[in-house]
């Protein structure tokens, strides 16, 4: 029983130390996650998410602002969650913008190809020679 109590005290000491590290690590983690979120938002902006994925980008920005507010209020856990969500929202915004961009380009190309195919068909049907036998 005495042995157990000593063990318990040692564990308790470990716990206190561990909590300190965890708390400290949590703040640092939040800072890193905020940076990741910010980077993701910048990437989305570069992918023209403002034009092609406005809703998703706005969600990411709002969540990033909320994460910062939580970090300012020392709510590391909430800040961490919101920062992680902001990052994934921004990734979705970026990917949505890329998809819309590619689809727009594919549609333009489809239209060009239709024209080109018709033109090619016309020119094979009317060789230059036919005009003067």
């Amino acid at each position: 029983m005495i042995q157990l109590t000593v063990n318990g005290l040692r564990n308790a000491a470990w716990c206190v130390a561990a909590f300190g590290i965890v708390a400290c690590a949590a703040t640092q983690l939040t800072t890193e996650q905020l940076a990741v979120a910010q980077h993701s938002i910048e990437r989305a902006e570069e992918a023209e998410a403002a034009d092609f994925a406005e809703v998703e980008l706005t969600t990411a920005r709002n969540k990033y602002a909320a994460a910062q507010a939580a970090a300012d209020k020392q709510d590391a856990e909430l800040a961490s969650l919101l920062a992680e969500q902001a990052a994934i929202d921004a990734q979705l915004a970026e990917q949505t913008a890329r998809a819309k961009h590619s689809e727009k380009r594919a549609a333009q190309l489809d239209a060009q190809m239709r024209e080109l195919r018709e033109e090619a068909l016309r020119s094979t049907k009317s060789p230059a020679d036919a005009r003067h036998p």
Binding site: L4, G8, A12, L81, E103, R105, L109, A120, A130, P133
Partner: protein, 278 residues
């Protein structure tokens, strides 16, 4: 009774080991049906399977995190809900990536086709330019006239002696050029039309003109042109009207015209000049 035992054990463990005891808490079932159905419906799409399986794997990882967290802390736990949200967003990212990649594949296919069409158009242009060059050279060399019936070459009057249907020995030059052109354009046909004046018996004139047309036709066949592409017509004095004679140069009695068709291979019938054919 069993629950009681477990609870007692937890209490006892908590008293001695503190937080370490968390591990023995029994698991409750907890799932996030909306997140799961989003992940699974996205994961089933063909383009997602083809292009976005890492995103799907990530979504599934978040989903199991959400479910095991939910099992420990209940579905209302904000961290569990957080993971469910990450799972849903990962699935949406997978969906968008698949759409992007499918569009990119369409773009690549279209660009390849465009290259091919442009390449073929360039080749066709070059071929047309060569054909035009060849045609121009032929027209210049033979003195051919471009008409609605085709390229009309009036042969040298010295090809035949007066009243004769045998080709003179020196007749080869322009016939060679025509035969060469025909060999280079297998789609074109040739028609030889021979005429006489109205001196002498019409039946004799008709026979003479036909024999002359045949002689020229045989000259083409002898130069390797398929007989099916060659036609010989003797008109005798049918077109030897004064207007006709006035409209055409040289002595009409030995006039032979070679008509080379265009690419269609069709040569419209000769109509009397008085009917207004150019």
């Amino acid at each position: 009774m069993r629950v009681m035992t477990v609870s007692l054990a937890v209490l006892a463990a908590g008293a001695t080991w503190g937080l370490v005891a968390c591990e023995v808490t029994p698991r409750k079932s907890a799932d996030f049906p909306q997140a799961r159905s989003t992940v699974e419906s996205v994961a089933a799409q063909n383009d997602v399977i083809r292009y976005a399986s890492p995103d799907v794997a990530r979504a599934r990882d978040y989903l199991s995190l959400a479910e095991s967290r939910g099992a420990e802390h209940g579905v209302d736990d904000r961290v569990a809900a957080h993971y469910a949200y990450l799972a849903t967003q990962s699935a949406r990212i997978a969906d968008q990536r698949a759409q992007e990649q499918a569009a990119q594949a369409r773009i690549r296919a279209a660009e390849l086709e465009r290259e091919r069409i442009l390449h073929e158009a360039r080749l066709a242009d070059e071929q047309r330019a060569r054909a035009t060059e060849l045609l121009d050279g032929f027209v210049k060399g033979t003195g051919a006239t471009r008409t609605a019936r085709g390229l009309v070459i009036t042969l040298d009057h010295a090809l035949f002696g007066k009243g004769r249907a045998k080709l003179n020995a020196n007749a080869g030059g322009s016939l060679d050029a025509i035969a060469q052109f025909l060999a280079a354009h297998p789609e074109r046909r040739v028609q030889v039309e021979a005429f006489t004046d109205s001196v002498g018996a019409p039946s004799y004139n008709l026979e003479l003109s036909q024999s002359r047309a045949d002689a020229i036709a045989m000259a083409f066949i002898g130069r390797g042109i398929d007989a099916a592409r060659v036609r010989a017509l003797g008109y005798g004095e049918w077109f030897a009207t004064p207007e006709d004679a006035a409209a055409r140069p040289g002595p009409p009695d030995r006039r032979v015209e070679v008509i080379v068709s265009n690419d269609s291979g069709v040569i419209p019938a000769l109509l009397p000049i008085t009917a207004g054919v150019p």
